[in-house]
Every structure is written in C-alpha cells, then in structure tokens.
C-alpha cells in the first residue's frame, strides 16, 4: 500500500501483496491488497492476477494525462474479462493540482461499476482512507 501512495515514485515489478484493515460502518474489514504494477512500455499486466478480485482502485497520475487514458483502457479490459465489479478511480497528487493535465470534471463516466472518483495526495495522505473506505463499502454491498 505504501508503494501505491508513496510520495516518492517507486517502480513495482509484478505484484506486491499486503493487508489493510478498514473500518466501514463500525465493522472492521481486512483487505488483502494486490499492488499490481502499472502497464507501460516495460510491463504488461497478466489478466490472471485478477482472478478472485472483489474490487479495485485505479490510481492515476493526473499530471500525466496518458496515465488516465491507460487506466480507462485497463478498466475496459477488466470489465470485459471479469464482468462488473466495484472500482474507484483515484486521482493522486491533489497537492499539485495546478500541474494537472486532467480535468477531473470531464473524466468520461463509466455507467457500469465505478463507485467514485477520489482525489488523493500521497504527500499529505488526503483522500487515501476515503478511497479504501468507498471501495470496501461498495464491495460489501456488491451483488457479485
């Protein structure tokens, strides 16, 4: 989880497995987190990683528009492969909003399963807990 929301950019290879306890509606839920490397020219994601997944966060760096486009393309593939499962779009670096190339008001809406668009800051921690809470709540209420 630190690597996902670490202020300092760290590359991920493969999968990093972690756990996190989230409190939702006075109930403690333990999440098993798979921090999967982002897709780029160096690595492609194995769709087999997604087997058994209950929900996911797509973390975007809005100072680089391409990361949003990559994330939305990935979401489409996930939807196609897994069916509708809850997900949250996380726009990181909200402490550097002046540098954003992404207009969060104009992100194409996914009518299917997106739970929320959350702004976070790895630097200040803003929004991080909310992102997990929103996803957890959605997973608990998901019919899937």
């Amino acid at each position: 989880m630190e690597s996902i929301f670490d202020e300092q950019y760290h590359t991920t290879i493969g999968v990093k497995v972690d756990k996190k306890v989230v409190s939702v509606d006075r109930e403690e839920v333990t999440l098993v987190l798979w921090d999967i490397h982002g897709e780029d020219v160096f690595q492609k994601m194995r769709m087999t990683y997604l087997r058994g997944m209950s929900g996911y966060l797509l973390v975007v760096d809005p100072t680089r528009r391409q990361t949003l486009e990559d994330a939305l393309a990935l979401e489409a593939r996930v939807e196609e492969s897994m069916g509708p499962i809850p997900w949250v779009l996380v726009l990181n670096k909200c402490d550097r909003i002046a540098e954003w190339e992404v207009d969060s008001e104009r992100i194409p809406s996914s009518e299917r399963s997106r739970e929320a668009v959350i702004r976070t800051s790895a630097k200040t921690g803003e929004g991080v807990e909310e992102a997990f809470s929103r996803l957890t709540r959605a997973m608990l209420h998901s019919p899937c």
Partner: protein
C-alpha cells in the same frame, strides 16, 4: 543430523523450495526447505502444507498451475514476480513455477532478493528516464506555444503600423515621407526578424533533427548569400555603407552545403549586423564565397577597426562574448552562429585583414547530393537602393465588395481603410457570425477573415460559407484568411477549410490586393483561366491572361518574382525536414501563381511535391524540388528579360540580379 546432500545444498544456495503437488491442495517438500519458508509461512522440515492457505498470491497461481498439471504441456507455467512480507515486515520477492519432473507435479518457489533488486533498479531507471523524457516534451510544447503567442502578439501591431505608414505616404510632404519610409522599412525588418525567430527557434525546439548531416539537409550557399545582401542592403545604405556581393564564378560542383537555409540566412544576417555595427560611413562591406573542395567558405569583410585588441577577441563567439566596448547588443548572435555551424560539421572564425578591417567567415561541408544543375552565373551586386513602398495604390478599375471580419478593431479598420483607398467597397464586421450574416446580406465578392476570433473563427466561417455555396449551387466567393501565425500547418488548415489564401500578419497591402484581385484578373473574358497552348510564347500568354493590361502584368510579375523564392524556400525546408504537411501546403501555395506564366514543368513538379506531402512520401522529393527550382530559375530569367521594370517595391531583387558577370 545427517549431512546435507549436494542436492539440498544447491537448493538452499539458490533459496529455492521444491514441492510435489499431492492433490487436494496439499504440497510435500521434495528437499530441505530454505530458511525463508519458515520465516514467511512457518513451514517446518518435511511438513506437508496447504500453500494456498499460506499465500493469497499462490492461491491465485495454483489454480493456474493445476490447469497446467491437468493437461501437461511442455515447458513450465511461471507466476511472475510477487512480494510478500513476513510477520516482522521483511519483504521476500518470490517467483514460482509449475513443472513436470520425473513424472511428479512439482512446484518450485524461489526467493529472488538480489536479482529482483537488480531488475527493480533497471526498471526504475528506465521509468525515470521515460518520465524525464515526457517532462521535456511537455516543456518543449509549452515553449512552442509561448513562442507562438509572443510572435502573434508582436506581429499583430505591425500590420497596423505598416498600413499607417502606407496611408501616410500619400499624404505627407517629401521631407516627411523619408521618415515615414524609414518607419515602413524598419517595420518590415522587424517582421523578418520575428519570422526568423519563429522559424529558427521552432526548429531548435523540435530537437536535434537539424544536426543530421547529409543530403536531406542542404542549403544553397549562393542563394543564401544573395538573399542576405538583398535583405540588408537598405540598412547599409541608410548608414552610408556600401554592401556588395563579391564576384565569383560558377562553382563546378554547385554550391549546396550541409545546413538549413533559414538558419544559414540567419548566420549571414548575424554577421552582417555585426559588420553594420562596426563599419564607418563611407566604407564597404563585402560578402564573398570561396570553393574549398569538400567545403565552402562564406565570409563578410568590413573596413572597420578590426577585431578587439584585448582578450575579448578570444571570446567573440562565446555566449555574451561581445568584443570590447563596441556598441551593439548582447553577444547572442555570434554564439548562435558558432553553435549552428558546428552542429553541421562546420567551423567559424574571425581575423584581422592586412588591408584593415576584419573578416568573419564560416565554413560548411558540401552537401552529399549536389544539385544536378548549378546556378547560373551571377556578377557583382551593387548596393541595392532602399526599398520604397508605393506612395499611393493604384485604384482598381472594378471595385469589389469586400467583407472584412476581424475582432481586433485596429487591425480591422486598417484593412478596411487600405482596401477603401484601393477603391473597393468594404464592410467591416467584428466576428465570424457577423461575417456570415454579411455574406448573406451583401453578397460580397471577397471575404477577408481573421483566423482567430472568439466564438466562430475564420476556419469555421470558411467551412460554413463553402457549405452554403455548395447547397445553393452558387459561385465561390474569394476567401482570404489572416493569421498571426501563418505556419505551414495553419495554411494546410486554411486550405482544407476552403480558403483561397492565408496571409500572415503583418502583410504587405500589395499581397492582399494580389490575393483578392488576381483571381478576378485571371478570369477576364479574353483569357480563360488555365494553361495556354504550348506554342504560345510567355509574353503572349501573360498579355492574354492580363487582358493586355501592361501595368497589371508588371505588377503580377513583380509579385511572383518577389514571392516565389519565399515559397520555394518553404518547400526546400519542408523537404529537408521531412515535413509532409508543410510540403503539401507550400507546394500548393506555389502552384497558385503558375497559370499566369504557362509554367507547365513547374506546375507538374509542384503538384508532384504536393501529392508527396499529402501522402507522406519523400522518395524523390529532393529531385523533384531541384526540377522545380531549375524551371523557376529559367522562368525568372525569362520574366526579368521581358519585364525589366516591374511594378513593385520588391523590384530591388530584379536589380540586384540583373548584372551578370562577364
């Protein structure tokens, strides 16, 4: 405790655990387990274990592994890397493989530590480099946008200034007129400088494409030298200094060198500006060329005080290395020259001349592919007279109704006034929607629209009008665009939107007249538009196309002679830079003037180049360009012989080229 087998020792050394799959999720160790197994999953020696319960990642992968074991295929099924933490937070990078081994379903799990870190470092470095590259591209993009904004803002008032000077010239006394002419000339010079900055720095920002040596990047040194002398002659004359192009003979191997023509122009310009600053009135500055075999050298000789005597002479070409206490600007110009020349594999220098004064020179390698036809002989160029704008515009015989749309009030009013002074009937409007309304209301012959207007820009106006014409089956109105950034891309967009021409601001009023009136002249009843029969000589053809109006013919010839070298340079630049869009639009723009001159070969070559640009093909483009260039040079010589006194302020070009070396 029995001694460990070599088998166990090797596995421990490799930090690899070996399990046999026994079914039902149970795995049995096939050898002693490495220590990390116990730290991570608390698996003791010889214990059977449900690995899926120990690791969520393995739970996922084992489903894949079981599929593999169920239908044995050659090779192995690999998990990819994953990282798990033990209870103390220590991380273990791992990799698992499902294989068949001696008839057993075997799972190997290897702890990677060293190899993983190495690969992570590699990926980190690669991704950092990618991020840096992305950042640089964004910076370059921002700078290009900023540059275009600055150019646009600097250019905008020039149109008004120029028009003011033109309007004033017809209304002031001769002693005042010379000051107005100076203002006019300086505004022209500023325009050239602004364009030069845009072209040179845009190319710089696009990266090191110009550093490539070879045939794709070549410039004709003779043309560049000639252009430089023509361009700077008025400024030298104004300071009482004679500027000449030294006599030279045809260069057997042509005069193409490695370099980009606009930047070679700029190098000449910087050296001449330097000479202008240091030369006393009454002296002579000479531009010359020398054939050095595999290289060509260009030089600028002055009769000034010579190079500085102090140590600053060693830093003439360094950044801000202006020599001594000489007047002038900060030393960026010579630094630019050095950087550029060296990038092309050349050299630059300066020296005192024995007869007094200094020589600044630069040397460039010859381009690997020379033009098949060298340029014709050229003689001494006497200093050109200052460029004199026409004091009044000839009023047209047939007034056109012109709608001018520009949201900038001053620019609009100036264009309106200039066209009214020419004798046209003009309606000015402030935006695109009003232009459309005026088009419907007054049925103009011509629309002049600014490309950048709020709400509805010039391109949208052009599209809407062409659509309306198509629906109504009406004749095409002449549509002229105005733009502060008339780049090749802008021109391409303008033509695609249906415009007939795009004029960059600031523009010569004559260019506007030419754009508006030429189609009218060309469609006069005596001569149907198009190319004449091949037997018709050039003079007859032009006479027919201009309705025997000699003044109009001289004006159109002068316009063409002044204009085609610019367009030819744009084509050369587009070919050398492999700028497909630029090539298509420049070749298209050049073709416009050919119908007047029956220039079949040029027309064909330009059309081929335009097609190449549109299809992003560059094979044979250089040869096609040389065909075009040669044919236009031939046409130019014929036209200059037929029209020794064309009507145009740009006729100085004709004078400077009319003296042939014996």
């Amino acid at each position: 405790m029995p001694p460990a087998s070599i088998h166990d020792t090797w596995l421990a050394h490799e930090a690899t655990a070996l399990f046999e799959f026994r079914g039902g999720g149970v795995f049995e160790p096939l050898a002693a387990l490495p220590a990390w197994c116990d730290s991570l999953w608390q698996v003791g020696p010889g214990e059977s274990v449900h690995l899926a319960e120990k690791s969520p990642f393995l739970e996922n992968f084992l489903a894949e592994a079981e599929e593999f074991w169920t239908s044995p295929a050659p090779g192995a099924r690999n998990s990819g890397y994953w990282v798990e933490q033990d209870s103390r937070g220590k991380e273990y990078p791992l990799e698992a493989s499902a294989i068949w081994l001696a008839g057993k379903r075997v799972l190997t799990i290897r702890s990677l530590s060293g190899a993983y870190q190495e690969q992570q470092q590699l990926f980190q470095t690669a991704r950092d480099a990618l991020l840096t590259h992305e950042r640089l591209l964004r910076e370059i993009e921002k700078k290009e946008i900023l540059l275009h904004c600055i150019i646009h803002d600097l250019s905008q008032p020039l149109t008004s200034m120029r028009s003011c000077f033109d309007l004033l010239l017809g209304k002031v006394e001769p002693e005042v007129a010379k000051f107005v002419m100076t203002g006019h000339r300086e505004s022209q010079r500023q325009e050239r400088m602004i364009r030069g900055i845009l072209e040179a720095f845009s190319a710089d920002l696009r990266g090191g494409e110009s550093s490539t040596r070879g045939a794709a990047l070549s410039a004709d040194l003779v043309s560049c030298a000639r252009r430089a002398v023509e361009q700077f002659a008025p400024a030298f004359t104004q300071h009482g200094i004679q500027l000449i192009l030294a006599p030279y003979w045809d260069f057997e191997r042509g005069s193409r060198v490695v370099g980009d023509a606009p930047r070679v122009d700029r190098i000449f310009g910087n050296l001449l500006e330097n000479a202008l600053r240091h030369s006393p009135a009454g002296s002579t500055v000479k531009v010359g060329l020398e054939d050095g075999g595999p290289v060509m050298t260009a030089f600028v000789d002055d009769q000034g005080p010579g190079l500085p005597k102090d140590s600053s002479r060693d830093h003439l070409f360094t950044l801000f290395g202006k020599g001594g206490d000489h007047p002038g600007k900060a030393g960026l110009g010579l630094y630019f020259c050095k950087m550029t020349v060296e990038r092309w594999g050349g050299a630059i220098g300066a020296e005192d001349r024995a007869e007094g004064g200094s020589r600044f020179w630069f040397r460039l390698p010859r381009a690997s592919q020379e033009s098949a036809a060298s340029l014709g002989p050229l003689g001494v160029n006497p200093p050109a007279a200052p460029v004199s704008p026409e004091t009044t515009w000839k009023r047209v015989n047939k007034a056109l109704h012109v709608v001018v749309a520009d949201d900038d009030e001053i620019s609009r009013e100036m264009v309106v006034e200039v066209l009214r002074a020419r004798g046209h009937k003009v309606t000015g409007v402030a935006d695109g929607r009003a232009a459309l309304a005026a088009f419907e209301r007054v049925k103009p012959a011509v629309l002049v629209v600014d490309q950048h207007m709020p709400e509805m820009d010039g391109l949208a106006v052009a599209r809407a009008i062409r659509q309306k014409e198509k629906q109504a089956g009406a004749a095409r109105v002449i549509l002229i665009g105005l733009s502060g950034n008339a780049s090749g891309e802008d021109e391409r967009r303008a033509f695609e939107a249906g415009m007939d021409a795009l004029l960059g601001k600031p523009f010569e009023p004559n260019r506007l007249f030419q754009a508006i009136e030429r189609p009218v002249a060309a469609s006069r009843p005596e001569g149907a538009p198009g190319i004449a029969a091949p037997s018709e000589d050039l003079r007859t053809h032009i006479t027919r196309m201009t309705g025997s109006d000699d003044k109009l013919a001289r004006k159109l010839v002068a316009g063409f002679l002044a204009d085609f070298p610019i367009k030819l340079s744009a084509i050369e630049r587009a070919v050398s830079h492999k700028d497909a869009d630029g090539l298509a639009s420049a070749a298209h723009a050049l073709r416009g003037g050919f119908s007047l001159f029956d220039a079949r070969q040029s027309s064909l070559a330009a059309r081929n180049l335009e097609t190449m640009g549109r299809e992003h093909r560059f094979e044979g483009a250089a040869e096609e360009f040389h065909t075009l260039s040669d044919d236009l040079n031939r046409l130019e010589r014929q036209l200059r012989a037929l029209f020794p006194q064309p009507i145009s302020p740009k006729s100085s070009r004709a004078r400077t080229r009319s003296h042939k070396k014996p």
